[in-house]
Amino acid sequence: MRASDKAGEALLAVTDLSAGYGGMPVLRDVSLEVRHGEILALVGSNGAGKTTLLRALSRMIASDGGIRFAGRDLAPMTPDEVFGAGLVQVPEGRQLFDRMTVEDNLLMGAYRRADQASVRGDLERMYALFPRLGERRRQLAGSMSGGEQQMCAMARGLMAKPQLLMIDEMSLGLAPVIVEQLMEVLATIRTEGVTVLLVEQDIHLALSGADRGYVMETGAIVHGGDAKALIDDPAVRKAYLGL
């Protein structure tokens, strides 16, 4: 079944998820769903727990509660199994392999793929999507500009052929032109069947590029719904957009 046939159904369903660090709770009963083929924005201020949620979803930290993804229960899985299931994140701070080339970074994205034969072709597709990376394929990832590094991190994530790509703080520290380019890339990959969970502090940016959104505050979801409606919601406008 193609992704578009499932449009509107839940790809990821999180129910009553709680998590924290060493006994200190951060997330409190978080429930949300990501639907097939959508761009979902998860927004909230510093320390709200967005990154913590992504860590729990990738099983990098322990949590209580339900995580169902594409019909499977992720809760008992290890990070590599979650990755293998098609839930891939572009982590906060990019976390590139700094002393490896751009191309090696992209190839690491495809490390676990079963269809190693088609990896070469996908590399070229990434270079078409991000021409700057194509010019710099032999450059060490750590020596590139912030924008180029973010492109590299996103391309590495896409090389994994994810069903759901979770991107943490995509726009942080980048010039508006670059951010605009990256948002266009998200729109492109969505047409190719990749669902996107976009985590941002820049609430206006995230909500204007997304279909739906959730607002997180001190470890809990406080608003949720259609992205356009959220932007217009007086409570959200007042608290986050300073309007």
Binding site: P79, F83, F97, D98
Partner: protein, 287 residues
């Protein structure tokens, strides 16, 4: 002048062997952040394995190297999976203690199993040599040097070009990202340690063709491997070739001009000097 050239040749040949000895130690150190004090003991085991293959099964020590390396790889994989994975992220002090304990145990077991007698692997070509003008090049040492260079360059290509090699480098650089991108660290660490011990086994097999073996050679070999890894750095396997050659040449100069018993003293002098002058190694980063 001829004598000096001969000493240099000896040093270079020895240096190749030293490079393979250090190769596995540097790999494990760089990726797992474990300074394996039992590394030399694994070299010793590899040497005995090679000796047994030759003495009881008549397998030529060079042709037997793949067997030795594969068996030692399996041992290394098992040791990492069963023991060292428990302490991978422990403080350096704990890993030193555990690997030191391992060195003591392996040496003790070797002494019981193989006795403290000196052993030599003596294939028919053991005494053969090639004469290049005034220079004499022992055939076995030349072959060991050749194999050492092939192994080291092979390791370099493996890390640079293969899927597993890339994952090993990635894990060494950024463990969190590697885990997020599908690396299962326990397996990857065990593969890495297995490869390191497989290389130690091969180094042991080569050592056995050019030198005498007894159960106590491990500690000195660990220390030399450590010095070479420091000189060459941990990032690039080709660094250990430089480190091995530096140590090999200095040692053979010392043996010739100072005295046979000063060879090991010279290695440690080099180690101390490098640590003082260039704590990050001659060629690059050590961590």
């Amino acid at each position: 002048m001829d004598l000096f050239a001969q000493i240099l040749v000896n040093g270079v040949l020895l240096g190749g062997l030293y490079a393979v000895m250090a190769l596995g130690l540097a790999l494990v150190w760089g990726v797992l952040n474990i300074v394996n004090l039992a590394h030399g003991a694994f070299i010793m085991l590899g040497a005995y394995l090679s000796w047994h293959l030759y003495t009881y099964l008549g397998i030529d020590p060079f042709l037997g190297l793949p067997i030795t390396a594969i068996l030692m790889f399996c041992l290394g994989y098992a040791v990492q999976r069963g023991l060292l994975n428990l302490i991978v992220r422990a403080p350096m002090f704990n890993t030193l203690l555990i690997t030191f304990g391992l060195e003591v145990v392996l040496t003790y077991l070797a002494q019981i199993a193989f006795s403290a007698d000196f052993r030599t692997i003596n294939p028919s070509y053991a005494g053969a040599h090639i004469s290049l003008g005034p220079l004499v090049i022992p055939l076995a040492r030349l072959m060991a040097f050749g194999v050492a260079i092939v192994l080291t360059v092979g390791m370099w290509v493996f890390l640079l070009r293969t899927r597993l090699g890339r994952a090993i480098r990635a894990t060494a650089q950024n463990l969190v990202a590697a885990r997020l991108y599908g690396v299962e660290p326990r397996h990857l660490y065990a593969m890495t340690f297995g490869i390191g011990i497989g290389l130690a086994g091969a180094a042991g097999g080569l050592y056995g063709t050019v030198s005498q073996i007894n159960p106590y050679i491990g500690a000195t070999l660990t220390a030399k491997s450590f010095a070479i890894a420091i000189i060459g750095g941990l990032e690039n396997p080709l660094g250990v070739i430089v480190g091995g050659l530096v140590l090999g040449i200095i040692e053979s100069l010392t043996v010739a001009y100072v005295g046979a018993t000063f060879g090991d003293v010279a290695s440690f002098g080099v180690l101390v000097l490098v640590l003082i002058v260039r704590p990050s190694g001659i060629l690059g980063k050590t961590a």
